[in-house]
């Protein structure tokens, strides 16, 4: 056995298990930037906006002001559908601070139209999916066509949360 000159907790320390409730105090005022500002305003209008690279045709959702492949400005705003295909979905039983949740939160990624199943990169969003835990567990939600369920117009604030979730059409 190695001679331990570093010091792990003792067994009895591991049994004493105080719960500390705290939230990190770091606060930031982030900049949405050129592309995402327009995107967020679009969400307020109930539209999902993307940028298209006119050189290679790639559509960026969420939008980018430049094409990462061609390294030129994306020069066109396009509206993509608020409909797409569920690529993956999971059911979370823990919160972001790792507290136990009674009801699982279901999230996943959605490949928005226009795009095809053969694309490696595509306009895509990460969001909540309104479906049951069973649908996730037996994978029936995969490949389903889903549509955004928007908040009522007056409640929209220009945030990704203006979409309540994506639900099966």
């Amino acid at each position: 056995m190695i001679s331990v000159t570093v010091h792990p907790l003792k067994e009895e320390d591991l049994k004493r298990h105080p719960v500390v409730e705290d939230k990190p105090k770091a606060r930031y005022s982030y900049t949405a930037g050129q592309a995402l500002s327009v995107f967020l305003n679009g969400l307020k209008e109930g539209k999902i906006l993307g940028r298209k690279c006119t050189k290679c045709g790639r559509i960026y959702v969420p939008p980018r002001m430049y094409c990462e492949d061609c390294f030129v400005p994306t020069s066109l705003w396009v509206e993509v559908k608020d409909e797409g295909v569920v690529m993956t979905a999971v059911a979370s039983f823990i919160s972001w601070t790792r507290e136990r949740l009674d009801h699982p939160e279901i999230v996943g990624t959605i490949r928005l139209f226009p795009s095809t199943a053969r694309d490696y990169v595509y306009p895509g969003l990460f969001h909540r999916i309104c479906c049951s835990y069973e649908d996730v567990r037996n994978m029936t939600i995969f490949g389903k066509i889903v549509k955004a369920r928007w908040k009522p117009r007056e409640e929209r604030t220009g945030s990704i949360n203006d979409i309540e979730c994506f639900e099966v059409v």
Binding site: M1, P8, S92, S95, M139, I160
Partner: protein, 391 residues
Amino acid sequence: MRTNLRFRPVAVIGAGMTPFRRRMLDTPQELAWEASRRALDEAGLELRDVDCVVIGSAPDAFDGVHMKGEYLAHGAGGVRKPVSRVYVGGATGVMTAISAWYHVASGLCQKVLAVAEEKMSPGRPHPQSVFRYIWDPITEKPLNPNLIWIFAMEMHRYMNVNRVSKEDIALVSVKNKRNAKKNQYSQLGGDITVDDVLKSEVLVWPVQLLDVSPVSDGAAAMVLVSGDIARRYTDTPIWVEGVGWTLDNTSWPGRELAYPRYLENAARMAYKMAGIERPQKEIDVVEPYDPFDYKELHHLEGLLLAKKGEAPTLMREGFFDVDGEIPSSPSGGLLGVGNPIAAAGLMKTISIYWQLKGTAGGMQVKKSVHTGVAQAWGDLMQASTVIVMRN
């Protein structure tokens, strides 16, 4: 054909690490010192012999100290020496060895000490919450994600596309925790069964508690020297013959998650340099990054050691067992040894070094080994680092 001829040859001559534990009562600097001293002892060097120091450490937020490179410098032997810190998320550990390699390969330094340290335990209420700041602040963070979500999404996509069962994935956890029993540094070695994994707490379906590596504190260090002088210190230098690393974009929701193309690119870069044309035939032992059990399968495919979707079948057949064709994670990996992020990646590199040198003790694989590969991975499904070593 080897393409590494224009670089100076680089050899590993010593390595050391601390045990990995849930919480250490030592500071990050003390951990770094412990690992560095052990590496120098194995190499037969003193600190005055070292020309340059490379430090690897993942987000500062874990240890809770900013400028972690500078903070760790004196524990890592970096005072009054050229020091650099590298950071590519979870891929940092192997990147530390790669960076040390190019310090020597370029001719800039003759003897380099590479040190990786991570103390995950200080974060409150749970280190998990520190990951909040890796997400896009505008489009992702408002959904209150936690880190396991993204892995669960990738795992479920991998399972769906390749028709992989939870049972097959659990076999990785069983194998790695079994291998870790032989590793004196490990945190979670033991005999578990597939059933134990499937009955453990569901965190984010399909990820369960025993699918995940633990929170750990620990450090690891390695000494790399120029090939011209390696034999002054040892009769059995281990040669770094290929390195590769690539990054993908942060737009993981707009990308196919079932296959890691960035890893394939990194692997091809490293294999080309080392002259490896048929990876499955030429590689004898591998340490793929396994913070989650499915990740080992995912990475074995990205490393071209299994065809897409075939890694689970090979795993089931024992191809990657410690006495199999290509032993995978003979150290016990992150699932068994622990996951102090940067130190875990360097631990994987050190495991391959010890295997090739024949000094892995209880972990030593049955077959004779000549070529070994270590790999790490990190960020938002983005970064991969690969290193090929030979004896």
